[in-house]
């Protein structure tokens, strides 16, 4: 034990980094296939989307960036897939993050949205809107007063779906994907003002903020990081990159716990030696 401690104290970074690399890489190459239990927050999102009827409008906030895509993009894909399976549900994609349109188009192509549904009648992509919360407030107040064209420059008046969608009063649900404080925007502007049902797909670090709103019944559900995406993939029976990553995440968590225990074991040993 002492020799190990000596070795770790001299080269702890190299040893820990190597151990983490192996903990992440081995399950990705050789999956263990751990079961993925579904949490109530994920179930909340699934049930809400399942309850949508033809004609209902789902707004999808596409605030994904390159830095967070590993956590949030699998959630985004799973939700879009589920929404596109629902017959007659209208999907409106919008983002207030500068990279949003890139990820929205990438996801639409990945689920073959343009081949499965009619653009303009079943779904519309509004693109990026500057102005942060003011942009969300503008969308909720009057979309047509804020925007005249969609992401590709087509007039909104030419898109049949947009004729019946004017403000947040016409949104059935909002599902916002983000990693920053902007998740609050839809809660402030759509839920608090118009009573629109709001749910989130978030990075792990943002979940504690949103969870307080979930327990208060103000949001219908949360997809929590990669595990939320994996659970959703299980629910819609579409295994993807999130489910593959869960084994690696499990082993990494075990390694973190082992390191914490080891660190404290050494502290106890040091105290005994001093005594």
């Amino acid at each position: 034990m002492m020799i190990f401690r000596e070795l770790l104290s001299r080269n702890y970074k190299q040893i820990i980094y190597l151990a983490l690399f192996l903990a992440l890489a081995i399950p990705l190459v050789n999956p263990i296939g751990l079961p993925v239990p579904v949490q109530k927050t994920t179930m909340g999102v699934y049930n809400k989307i399942e309850s949508l009827k033809p004609g209902d409008v789902a707004v999808v906030g596409s605030n994904i960036g390159a830095a967070i895509y590993a956590e949030v993009y699998p959630q985004y894909i799973a939700i879009l897939e589920h929404l596109f399976r629902k017959e007659g549900v209208k999907v409106l994609l919008v983002g207030h993050g500068t990279e949003a349109p890139i990820w929205a188009e990438k996801a639409l192509n990945e689920i073959n949205a343009y081949g499965r549904k009619t653009y303009g009648a079943d779904f519309v992509h509004l693109g990026y809107i500057a102005g942060e919360e003011a942009a969300v407030a503008g969308l909720c107040r009057d979309i047509h007063a804020l925007l005249k064209v969609d992401y590709k420059g087509r007039p909104l008046t030419d898109l049949p779906m947009m004729k019946n969608i004017k403000s947040a009063k016409d949104f059935t649900i909002v599902m916002d994907f983000t990693a920053s404080a902007d998740s609050q925007y839809w809660l402030n502007q759509a839920y608090a003002t118009y009573g629109t049902a709001v749910g989130f797909g978030l990075t792990a670090i943002k979940v504690p903020d949103a969870y307080a709103y979930y327990t208060a019944g103000q949001i219908f559900g949360i997809l929590e990081s990669l595990s939320g995406a994996a659970q959703y993939e299980v629910l819609i029976r579409r295994p993807g990159m999130a489910a593959q990553g869960m084994d690696a995440q499990s082993l990494a968590h075990l390694l973190y716990i082992a390191l914490m225990v080891l660190c404290n074991a050494f502290v106890v040993m040091e105290r005994r030696v001093k005594k």
């Binding site: 702890y12 751990l34 102005g131 504690p208 969870y211 307080a212 914490m260």
Partner: protein
């Protein structure tokens, strides 16, 4: 002259939020139309702010390059990357064009994800160095952290179904309540700040408190 501008700004800061606030309370079509216009102006100002951001970036890094300040080659890289994206976007006419997409997927995506992914290694190193239970409070935090990790990863349930349940109890009762108290505090603080701005007591938006 500065005093006049400050007075005009104070009036704008009083009138604009008041219109938005009254619009929530009263269902008046004229008020609603004015409030919508005000909100849309804020969106336009937000879009302009992006342009100003780009301008100040060019100015600052241009100065760093011309004066050969430390690490000036990084400024060249930054400006070069920025203009490559701007030109590609303008020439191809879209940020989802294959050319723009290629630069984004080949450079931005791997670099950003690598930087973000490196956090996992820093956390691993920190969990060895920093999570020392030197007091009872620290021990409670440490144990709670372990249960929460076992709640979030499927391995917790595989080891024992009780582990995620304990994590869930900590999450529901300690985590959510603590966070709610914080959020209520932030909400009250924001309300107080908003009221101070409206009644002219907050000088920061007018160019800094004296």
């Amino acid at each position: 002259m500065a005093g006049v501008w400050r007075k005009i700004a104070s009036v704008v800061l009083l009138v604009a939020p008041a219109i938005i606030l009254f619009d929530f309370a009263l269902k008046n079509p004229t008020l609603q139309s004015v409030a919508t216009d005000l909100n849309n102006w804020a969106v336009v100002v937000g879009a302009f702010a992006l342009g100003i951001g780009a301008y100040s970036l060019v100015l600052r890094h241009g100065r760093m390059i011309s004066k050969r300040r430390p690490e000036w080659p990084y400024s060249i890289m930054l400006l070069l990357t920025m203009f490559t994206f701007i030109v590609t976007g303008l020439v191809t006419g879209s940020i989802t064009s294959p050319q723009y997409n290629w630069i984004y997927t080949a450079i931005v995506m791997p670099v950003s994800s690598t930087l973000y992914g490196m956090n996992a290694f820093f956390i691993a190193s920190a969990s060895y160095r920093a999570f020392k239970a030197k007091s009872w409070e620290a021990l409670v935090l440490l144990v709670a952290a372990i249960f929460l990790m076992l709640k979030n990863a499927p391995i917790g349930g595989v080891i024992s179904p009780v582990l995620p349940q304990i994590g869930g109890i900590i999450w529901d009762f300690a985590g959510a309540t603590g966070m709610r108290a914080l959020l209520i505090g932030i909400g009250i603080g924001t309300l107080a700040l908003g009221l101070r701005v409206i009644i002219g007591q907050e000088k920061t938006p007018l160019g800094g408190a004296e």
